[in-house]
Amino acid sequence: MAEVELTVRVLRGPARASAAGGRYETYTLRADAGWSLLDVLEALQAGPAPDLMYRHSCHHASCGTCALRVDGRERLACLTTVGQIAAGRLGERTGHGKDYRLPRGARAAVTLEPLRSFPVLGDLAADFAEFFGKLDAVEADLVAARGEEATHFEHCITCGACMSACPIVASDLEYLGPAPLALALRGLQDPTKTGSDARRLAAADQPHGVWRCHHVFECTAACPAGVDPGQALMELRARLVRRRLGWREGARR
């Protein structure tokens, strides 16, 4: 694979309430086009930035810990490759397994920032406590049912990309946000009836629940797992409206 001379601007800084307020540090390194951004971050840690903080675990888009902003877009670091960055193809879900036919001596520059609307533990590591609290509010822990037909809503890896992409999550601290609301809907659909539907409905049907959404749909665009939280929100709204009108399952409260 081709080698790329990569200039990485990293928004660094100590623990703070939001990504703002850090400072940009620039590093240049030679990176293989097949490297993921996690490989790049590891190389920086092994070289010029030994104290660099970032989160990761699985390296294969399952654990949901490595999301960050790459040139302003929420991406999983493990799915994003150097070749993809050099080719300017950040719109694609992953750069793995692709040959972007980069010219010899290719150069690229990229800016890495922690997720928006998350407190920062340090450098690129976002603090997920608030987000996980919102997931708990809708009883997002699901049990897989045997023989159940899979929908896309349970593919959520709770990476936080949608929360970062949503401008309303940024302005309304109490807004539950795309992933928790998508999982609220998924919970309501759950044939095993795990968790409390009353709690899910109460969490969704309040001013900081589904009604706060302003149809930006950046959540769906940012999601690396194809969950489509935007559609989940709209379905949840329709469900709540039907319920208010008493159209289904004797739903008067």
Binding site: G72, P119, A129, P167, L173, Q231, M234, A238
Partner: protein, 132 residues
């Protein structure tokens, strides 16, 4: 949140930060801006209409203003803002009802195409008499 962690603050800049974003976000930003412009226009509108308190002389003055070029151009701009905001609003009603949230991008461009067509026609209606 556990204790000792920094509490984040509402960040309204995110409403006007389309860097790295896609159609849905641009539509949102456009709707905020046109919404604010329309809000401002309501006050301009009331201020202009208040000359009617001056009786028939005020009325004549108003009609003279309203047929002047700057005012006509203002009207043309107003129509554009109204169309963008209104037709995007119609898109949001459909999308918000769960109809076509998958197609929200296409709906946006359809709304903007409709806005452009109506805009061209109204611009003609507003400006054509003034040419003659």
């Amino acid at each position: 949140m556990s204790e000792g962690e920094a509490r984040r603050r509402p960040d309204w800049r995110a409403w006007f930060a389309p860097r790295g974003r896609r159609t849905g976000m641009w539509a949102f930003v456009l709707n905020r801006i046109t919404g604010l412009l329309l809000l401002a226009y309501v006050f301009v509108h009331l201020a202009v209409l208040s000359v009617l308190f001056q009786g028939p002389a005020g009325y004549d003055r108003l009609v003279r203003w309203m047929s002047s070029w700057p005012f006509l151009l203002f009207d043309v701009a107003l129509v554009a803002v109204l169309l963008v905001h209104g037709l995007n609003g119609v898109r949001l009603v459909f999308v918000g009802l769960g109809a076509g949230s998958h197609r929200q991008r296409e709906w946006f461009w359809a709304a903007m195409a409709a806005a452009a067509a109506v805009f061209a026609y109204t611009t003609y209606l507003i400006l054509a008499p003034a040419w003659r």
